[in-house]
């Protein structure tokens, strides 16, 4: 065997390894580009068309009548979100307190597991469940109450798990110190543990808010749709919401409906992205 032959094959192999490596890196970079570019395109398309569609009428007129604005939908999303949060935050934070402070046992892990199952349940299934229960069985009709409860069911598991995560980061010595001073359970949690973990809990609440603003499927079967402002009744009165404007108005043939859809998408996207970017920036800084 001559040394040159070995050298030759060695050279070919080295070349092949180098080429494989280059192709591999380029392929990986392409993968990243194919994930990020559509996002930038989505943000770009929605922003350009959305800003072009924004005018004063959007915030002062309803979709009913000449369909000049979408004040009813903006108000509706706002109200549904407020009531959903009002129901979900006490339950979610309370459940998170239990899981973190007293849930290191079999019951706690069962609740944790079932909470994950609920998180994994498609939101349209939850919406349909609410339709059967609230709209048909209870006879509420499409209504704010049904919509807010459905969204609350959707976000409670997130709130519970994020609260739990935030509370378990509080050092045990703080709890022990408080107990040693004679505090009871509630005082320890409300005066010591929760304040120390406040930023984490608020983060969870903000992310839950972003979810409830962006949801559509669970609302279709619960909130219904109304071309006019919310009547102020909790039942028997359908509510408008922004995501509905996006998915129905983009299918209308006229350009004006399209611009309403883009304006709604712009508002929803801005809220969701602002919350998520803000949360990530503040969490990273710590």
């Amino acid at each position: 065997m001559s040394a040159s032959a070995i050298n030759h094959t060695g050279g070919a192999l080295a070349l092949r390894r180098k080429i494989t490596s280059i192709i591999g890196w380029v392929g990986c970079g392409l993968g990243l580009a194919l994930v990020i570019l559509p996002l930038l395109d989505i943000v770009g398309v929605v922003t350009v068309n959305g800003i072009a569609a924004i005018n004063w009428d959007l915030f002062t007129k309803n979709t009913g009548g000449a369909a000049l604005g979408m004040k009813n939908a903006i108000e509706g999303t706002f109200i549904i979100t407020i009531f959903a949060m009002a129901i979900a935050v006490p339950i979610g934070v309370g459940a998170g307190i239990y899981l973190s402070e007293y849930g290191k046992n079999k019951l706690g892990s069962t609740i944790r597991f079932l909470s994950d199952v609920l998180t994994g349940t498609p939101s349209v299934v939850l919406g349909y469940f609410s339709y059967i229960v609230f709209i048909i069985s209870f006879g509420w009709g499409f209504s704010l109450a049904a919509a807010a409860i459905t969204i609350a069911i959707l976000i409670v598991p997130y709130l519970a798990r994020i609260t739990e995560l935030a509370l378990t980061q509080v050092p045990n010595t703080m709890r022990e110190a408080a107990f040693a001073l004679g505090s009871n359970d509630a005082t320890v949690v409300f005066k010591v543990v929760l304040p120390a973990a406040a930023s984490g809990v608020i983060t969870g609440a903000l992310l839950a808010l972003a979810i409830s603003v962006g949801e559509t499927a669970p609302l279709i079967y619960t909130a219904g749709w109304s071309d006019y402002a919310w009547s102020g009744k909790f039942t028997h009165s359908p509510v408008a919401y922004l995501t509905y404007v996006i998915w129905t108005f983009i299918d209308q043939p006229d350009a004006h409906s399209h611009s309403l859809a883009y304006a709604a998408a712009f508002l929803v996207m801005m809220v969701v992205l602002a919350i998520n970017i803000g949360v990530r920036l503040t969490v990273r800084r710590k």
Partner: protein, 320 residues
Amino acid sequence: MKLRPFRTAVLGLSLLIPAALVAVVLFLVVYSGQAMQFNGLHFLTDVTWNLGDLYDDPVTVKGIQVPSGAEYGILAFIAGTLASSFLAILIAVPLAIGTAIFLAEAVPELERSARRTIPWLPPIRPVLSMLVELVAVVPSVVFGLWGIAVLIPFLGHHVSPTGNGYGLLAAAIVLALMITPIIASTLLDALSQVPKENRESAFALGSTHFEVVTKAMMPMVRATLIGGIVLALGRALGETMAVLMVSGGGINILPTSLFSPISTIASFIVSQLDSAESDPTNMSVRALSEIALVLFLITLAVNAGAKLLSSGALNVRKRN
């Protein structure tokens, strides 16, 4: 034992979560009872979903009032769901692997060498990985809007032989975009947990950087990767709005090509609101309840699988 009112109160609140889940399952089962009785196994094996004549007098079958001519088969929707989700996984997995490897290994290197010439360069990797995470939080309906405005015209002009972009492929592409970040962030986490010794020994053996990644690091994170893929599958199966808006809404027909109009179980439920409202016998509401139950069970099985796989993945890492 001392009564502890505070503990009892928060326990009560946390029990509401399992209670909600039990209520969901219970109501879906009870409400779909008559539909199960009427449909039998044909529910899963028939392609045709026909509401029957809603204006004619209802007929009584097996003691149950149904609109005349009604039959409820969801095979087409099951096929549409599985086809779009698996196609989405097929697109998403290579994208996610490329994304994760590039972010974990190439970007820090590029950043280092770029900083030699531009010392004031802001950190790039956190920005890029945040962008990837943000893809996952864009609301489904905004994806659908983008699908209609950008993707469908593109597919229609350049890809589809019929000039119609709606259908299976469009649904799969949108789904793939939505689930890629899930797989990518799972994989990114796992890659950053590979012990330094493994990388360094591979480098010491003379491997190129790419070989270190593919031959020394990827095999160690395989189980986690599979767990992430199954998790993403669970998300894709239940995704509703984006699919509804770009899938073409085909019913009563099995998909035969990439451009067949399809409906998934989730998108079909949403599209049937009007017919549910107009059926005097309520049978279609019951059948839809049965279909929601099927979707719940499918996603439950997939998510449970993901959970098992990821707990297995932890064991593998411990052994190393």
